[in-house]
């Protein structure tokens, strides 16, 4: 199957990646050959075969609803690229217009 440029761009958006100019064509061709290769699975008769997503097929492994000791803030923030007190500081994702729309 040929992965069209537009499909590759869609996948880039979904995976939050933006390939450089030089990389795109090469990768597009590689992915196309891989998808071609993976199409061999179409020759397998999977009629009435249940998918196996996990070797153990576990169900509802739960624990008691009791709080446990977790990381103190200092340790949790130790690798933060940017911090403000006990907060992780991140680039702004909402603009003023978004706030206004939300209020009205």
């Amino acid at each position: 199957m040929e992965i069209e440029q537009s499909l590759l761009e869609k996948m880039e958006t979904l995976s939050v990646l933006s390939l450089q100019e030089g990389e795109t064509e090469n990768l597009r061709q590689e992915l196309s050959s891989m998808v071609d290769y993976f199409s061999q699975l179409e020759e397998v008769d999977v009629e009435s075969v249940e998918p196996l997503s996990h070797p153990l097929e576990l169900k509802n492994v739960d624990r008691e609803d009791e709080s446990e000791k977790t990381l103190p803030p200092e340790e949790a923030l130790d690798n933060a690229p940017a911090r403000d007190g006990n907060y992780f500081e991140v680039p702004r994702i909402l603009n003023d217009e978004d706030h206004q729309t939300h209020d009205s």
């Binding site: 992965i3 995976s15 933006s18 196996l52 949790a76």
Partner: protein
């Protein structure tokens, strides 16, 4: 003081010598760094990303003090261990061989690290690997490739490249790796040492940086299957931090090799498996047969779909797992998430994320991801049917001897094919071990793989240890 190989390279013997007071733990740690320095000076193998002398000597001092007080620190007392750099070590940088985590210092230890420390082992450093465990050659690291100590123009295999090379070059007796599609067994085979992947669920993945959560398992590499068994025993166990652990213990059961039937899957000798590998393993089969092992030919009909099934599932899971690397809470950060991820990840990682994203996307998920899950069940069924007739399976670990550095970098699919004989084990969640078998005329190692039914590690280790005793110096 130089410790001779016949003691130093065997965890069991080394630990005994330390416990008996013949060697101090401090001397052993010194020995490991002396060996590492010499190896890198003479061969520049690039096996380690980080060494942790300070913490290693501190631990050594504690252990020596315990011994003086008559306390037994554990079955791995003083044994220096190298750990693959995708396993979290508190206070010690853990990079996954990626620029994305180049400065990341975990605030906690992986469960396996705690267990190793509680057994008296000393972590001496974090080994090089393929980035985020994605690779089969050791050439995908952001910190440079690792060389094969047995053949320096050739790859050591991957993704546990540094772990395998650190054992094979005699720097440490034991290393820890991870295996998602063969990443312990294949480098063990390529470097002429032993490496095993336990049954899925035996060893906690808490603290293992996730690649494909339904396939990843942590396991040991060493010179002998006996050491692999001892370490597997120590690192296994139910863990409340990893809900996929089963708590089934591994221990040696006395079982005569003569009572076992070993199956040889015909598909492990098919197209794509090189002549020298086929001949070598066939010779081994004849040797085992003369030694009294009962062998029979069996079939795993869906083997040829293993690569396609594995890569579709692994890349899909990876595309989800690696979504966390966005510069928000830890790791590299650029001006926006897209730049962070595009420059933080290497080429192979990006390739796999895109492939996985495609396989899971609307309009394609049924045809690719879901279909792969169904073929996964058929692969698992193949094994279950065959294990009704035989106790174990045997075959080559890798379709070829170790290839040259750079030989397969242009064609990623060709590189993926080198996992053809190891991936089905991960898909079915079964235990597998690679033991050194022979070498080509050029001295390139060839490994023998033994696969057991789920939770039947004792039989697997039994055959591996007997084979090594009979065939290795």
């Amino acid at each position: 003081m130089n410790i001779p190989d016949h003691i130093y390279l065997h965890a069991n013997r080394l630990s005994d010598q330390i416990q008996e007071g013949n060697i101090s733990t401090e001397a052993v740690v010194e020995e490991s760094y002396r060996r590492l320095e010499k190896t890198e000076e003479d061969h520049a193998l690039n096996t380690f990303i980080t060494t942790c002398e300070e913490s290693a000597y501190r631990r050594a001092s504690k252990i020596d003090q315990q011994l003086e007080k008559g306390i037994n620190p554990g079955p791995l007392t003083g044994v220096p261990v190298a750990v693959k750099d995708n396993i979290c070590t508190k206070g010690i940088r853990t990079t996954c061989a990626s620029k994305m985590l180049e400065q990341f210092v975990p605030p906690y230890d992986a469960t396996v690290i705690e267990k190793l420390r509680n057994a008296g082992a000393i972590i001496v450093g974090k080994t090089n690997m393929d980035e985020f465990a994605m690779g089969s050659s050791g050439e995908n690291s952001a910190f440079g490739h690792t060389k094969n100590p047995r053949a320096e123009q050739h790859v050591p295999g991957g993704s546990s490249s540094g772990s395998a090379a650190s054992v094979a070059s005699g720097v440490v007796p034991v290393a820890i790796g991870s295996d998602t599609g063969g990443s312990i067994r294949q480098p063990a085979s390529f470097c002429g040492i032993t490496g095993c992947k336990p049954t899925y669920g035996h060893v906690s993945r808490y603290g293992l940086v996730a690649f494909a959560s339904s396939l990843d398992q942590i396991g040991p590499l060493a010179h002998r299957a006996e050491d692999c068994r001892i370490v597997t025993n120590i690192i296994s166990g139910k863990d409340q931090h990893d809900m996929t652990t089963t708590g089934q213990q591994v221990d040696k059961q006395n079982r005569d090799i003569d009572d076992m039937t070993v199956g040889v899957p015909e598909e492990f000798f098919g197209e794509g498996v090189s002549a020298v590998v086929q001949e070598t393993i066939q010779d081994t089969i004849e040797t085992l047969s003369s030694a009294g092992v009962s062998l029979q030919q069996v079939s795993l009909p869906h083997t040829k779909y293993g690569i396609a099934t594995y890569y579709l599932i692994a890349c899909s899971e990876a595309s989800s797992n690696l979504g966390r690397y966005d510069g928000t809470l830890f790791g590299a950060r650029e001006s926006d998430m897209s730049s962070t991820r595009t420059s933080g990840f290497g080429k192979e990682v990006k390739r796999r994320i895109l492939l996985g994203t495609f396989a899971l996307s609307e309009g394609y998920a049924n045809q690719y991801y879901r279909r792969a899950l169904k073929v996964r069940r058929l692969i698992k069924n193949d094994f279950e049917q065959v294990f009704e007739q035989v106790d174990l399976l045997l075959g080559p670990t890798s379709p070829t001897p170790p290839f040259r550095l750079g030989e397969k970098t242009e064609d990623p699919l060709q590189l993926y094919e080198s996992d053809a004989l190891t991936v089905t084990c991960n898909l079915a969640g079964l235990p597998g071990i690679s033991v050194p078998c022979s070498q080509t005329d050029e001295g390139l190692p060839i490994g023998l793989q033994i696969i057991a039914p789920a939770h039947h590690e004792p039989k697997m280790f039994q055959l591996a240890e007997q084979y090594e005793t009979d065939n290795m110096p």
